[in-house]
């Protein structure tokens, strides 16, 4: 017989109350574990998902340039010694020192053409690469589809050699529908698709196959820019840009951190929200422990009086209460860890828009148990002190 057994026997006797107390801890720990799991999964997912947020590096033709400032105004860029980007540069990207971080490479040529009777901007693209990189582009209308059939996924479609895809504003300005014919620099093209409105400058563009546009503009093999989706967890995009610069001396790479930053910002916001939520849930768990322990102490006044009368010191009483809290909280920590991990696994993908599984993070098990135990001990401190300070004479109704 020792103090541990007294604590254990008391827990066994008050199963319902102790289960309720444990439930508070389980919910608290589960919330923290789920949030941490989801945040970790979001970070891991960031690398995989970056292509969905567009290019994060743009390679432009190399130039020597000067800006002219007059007062507060920038009068113009003075560029000279403009170099060329060509199709031959594409393989160089895939053999560069940063090749392993490259996800999507989308070369394009931009030029002004006469469309119908208007001047428009045409962009030559490799459709699959371009639309995979920009998943927010979607077709509003598509030519040659049966009645009732839905439009296809742009990233999986090929634009015919004599076909065009028009931005919503461009189609409106040129007054064309899918299936119509449109003369571009006096050559006939069919309107293959019209894009949904994006609300950006891209709405006014005409898209066609890259080689077609190169022929149309009489600039064979030439490129205006190459958009690259690259990401690695361990290196910043600036390092990727430097690798690309080395591989393409005729181009200059501009790192675009926005995409990664946007996602990181989302993760930061989720983290802040998750941590705040965890804090609130943990506070509630602590209150559950506090009130349950206090009510348990009140019910056990006489019992504690007996312990004190037969020679238990105050520290022995505190030990009993803390041991009870510790036993419950270790179980609560383990149960909370598994509940949190399962919640993250099954609800995480919906909550955080993550693709794929959220793996079990075993390294969180010990911290989960420590968190649960720490919280329970902290919340039991006041009830334990109250129990220790009970006047045994009063508890045994001698007074």
């Amino acid at each position: 017989m020792n103090i541990f057994q007294i604590a254990l026997n008391n827990l066994k006797r008050r199963k319902i109350k102790m289960l309720f107390l444990m439930l508070g801890l389980v919910v608290g720990v589960a919330t923290v574990v789920a949030v941490l799991n989801i945040i970790e999964a979001m970070h891991l997912d960031l690398g995989d998902r970056i292509d969905e947020f567009g290019a994060n590096a743009i390679i432009l033709p190399g130039t020597e340039g000067m800006e002219m400032h007059y007062g507060n105004a920038t009068v113009s860029d003075l560029t000279f010694d403009v170099q060329q980007l060509t199709m031959e540069d594409i393989p160089k990207i895939f053999s560069s020192s940063v090749a392993e971080y490259i996800n999507i490479v989308s070369p394009k040529l931009v030029g002004a053409v006469e469309a119908g009777e208007q001047n428009s901007l045409i962009v030559g693209i490799e459709p699959r690469q371009e639309f995979m990189q920009k998943p927010w582009f979607s077709l509003a209308q598509q030519a040659d589809i049966e009645q009732g059939e839905t439009v296809g996924d742009l990233a999986l479609l090929d634009i015919p050699q004599d076909g065009l895809v028009l931005g919503a504003s461009a189609a409106e300005a040129l007054k064309v529908q899918v299936g119509d014919q449109l003369m571009i620099n006096n050559k006939p093209f069919g309107v293959f698709g019209i894009l949904n409105k994006l609300g950006s400058e891209e709405d006014g563009l005409i898209y066609a196959n890259l080689t077609v546009v190169q022929d149309l503009l009489n600039r064979p093999g030439e490129l205006s820019m190459i958009e690259v989706s690259a990401y690695c967890n361990s290196c910043p995009i600036e390092e990727v840009a430097m690798g690309l610069d080395e591989a393409l001396p005729n181009g200059r790479t501009i790192p675009m951190r926005q995409a990664a930053l946007f996602r990181e910002e989302t993760i930061d916001q989720f983290s802040a929200f998750g941590i705040a939520l965890s804090g609130v849930v943990l506070l509630i768990a602590a209150l559950v422990v506090l009130t349950t322990m206090l009510s348990s102490i009140n019910e056990r006044t006489r019992e504690i009086g007996i312990f004190r009368a037969i020679g238990f010191r105050r520290t022995h009483i505190i030990k009993i209460i803390f041991l009870e809290a510790a036993m419950i909280s270790v179980l609560g920590g383990i149960a909370g860890y598994f509940l949190g991990s399962l919640t993250a696994r099954y609800a995480g993908p919906y909550l955080a828009q993550i693709q794929g599984d959220i793996p079990l993070q075993l390294q969180l098990l010990l911290p989960a148990i420590l968190l649960s135990t720490g919280l329970a001990i902290l919340a039991s401190a006041y009830p334990a002190l109250k129990a220790a300070r009970l006047d045994p004479a009063e508890a045994l109704r001698f007074i």
Partner: protein, 238 residues
Amino acid sequence: MSEIMISLRDIKKTYRSMGDEVQALRSVTLDIEKGESVSVMGHSGSGKSTLLSIIGALNPPTSGIIEIDGIDIYKLSQEKRADFRREYLGFVFQQFQLIPYLTAHENVMLPLTTTKRSNKEKREMAEEVLHRVGLANKMKRLPNQLSGGEQERVAIARAIVNEPPLILADEPTGSLDTKTGDEIMELFQQLNQEGLTVLMVTHNPDNTRYMSRTIMMKDGKLSSDEEDIMSAITDKRK
């Protein structure tokens, strides 16, 4: 010359409740010798239980000196006083006061829990006293699986397991039938004959037959009047 086990000198105890002062004990002076068995009688509110709790190192007096085996117990710190209770006193409370979720054996082992004895030694000591009070075959039972008399025996076993020199009992037969009450009183008598000092608060005048001395309390004072004692005993027996 006999030795003094309990020495009370001018003990006063005043409770304050809602601004009123209640004098529970008014200058009690008393000596109880080692090996004596003393019953304390008196009407409700006469101060018997207060006296017992003060002697039990649970309730400091407002003034006066109390020594048990020469130790001024209220000069000890709270924790030392707890140690003192464990080593010197065996309590038998009103209505047994057993811990409901511990078996008879575990209840008896309770006072040994905080001592440095080995588990084996604790188990054996508890078994021995349970055997002595006639409950060797019911050690594994929980209190609610025992009769009133058996629970009282467990409570007595718990009080003596630590081999204290002084037993304090508060109405030990209050909730027992006459036959069982007599058996319990015989047990106390036996313990006293073995050398333990017994102080018992009781309402039952029949219990005084088993004790070597009876003290009467009236309005917080000891009554030395023999008639008071006799009339109390006779009144109760009527």
